[in-house]
Symmetry: C2
Subunit: 116 residues, 2 copies
Amino acid sequence: MESLQILEPAVDASCCTPCGNPAMDADEAQRRALVFKALADPNRLRLLSIVKAGESGEACVCDLTEPMDLGQPTVSHHLKVLVEAGLLNREKRGTWAYYSLVPGALEETAGLLTSL
Amino acid sequence: MESLQILEPAVDASCCTPCGNPAMDADEAQRRALVFKALADPNRLRLLSIVKAGESGEACVCDLTEPMDLGQPTVSHHLKVLVEAGLLNREKRGTWAYYSLVPGALEETAGLLTSL
DNA sequence: CAGCCATATCGATGAATGTCAATATGTGTG
DNA sequence: CACACATATTGACATTCATCGATATGGCTG
């Protein structure tokens, strides 16, 4: 169970793809594909959406399991994938685990697309 | 071989997710996940990047096969996935097939993220 | 028309992935 | 400490997917 690489903020902060440069190398592609892999599942997109739509900006697993027509272990698995992709934050308070969007992560990922 | 749904421009043109709405339903998630599935492969990201970086904004399969350390059938397959996702355009001229970015498609996909 | 070239499709194969049931971990409560 | 509860992990299974070799399609040229 090696943990996936966490998306570090500096990855493309220095504008590594200004207009008209010689395309991306294989390593860079590998790294960027990790985030999109995490987004490539309908249930994970819904999880992100539900977390974002929540009042407090966070949700615990129980809140997420109910509307998802999935078992609790499966939801837990998806949340782990989203955390490892750098999209969600996990904070444990008592028995509950609260998940929230990593600030700016979605915007940064969107930037990966427009600056391809 | 049922063709994947092509992303139609009107899908979210009417701002189906204004700030703070009640999260996305399963169908919507399914539809949106199709584009991210297409982006969830390093080789496809590179293909997009190479096409975009090209002088004329287009590239034929032979131009794309060479730098990709992949066989021609595999590159052809990836290109098909990208076309079906609505990200690439295919234009056949003579024996060659030229692929180009669908204008606005990347930006629209980026919008799917920021307006989750 | 025969043959070459660029590209697409097919069929098979191994790897990755989503899902579940069972179980483990860890925390609050009696 | 024992139990209940929320969440995570494990192991198994079915499905999807990336890749390849072989072959098909379709256009150009002699």
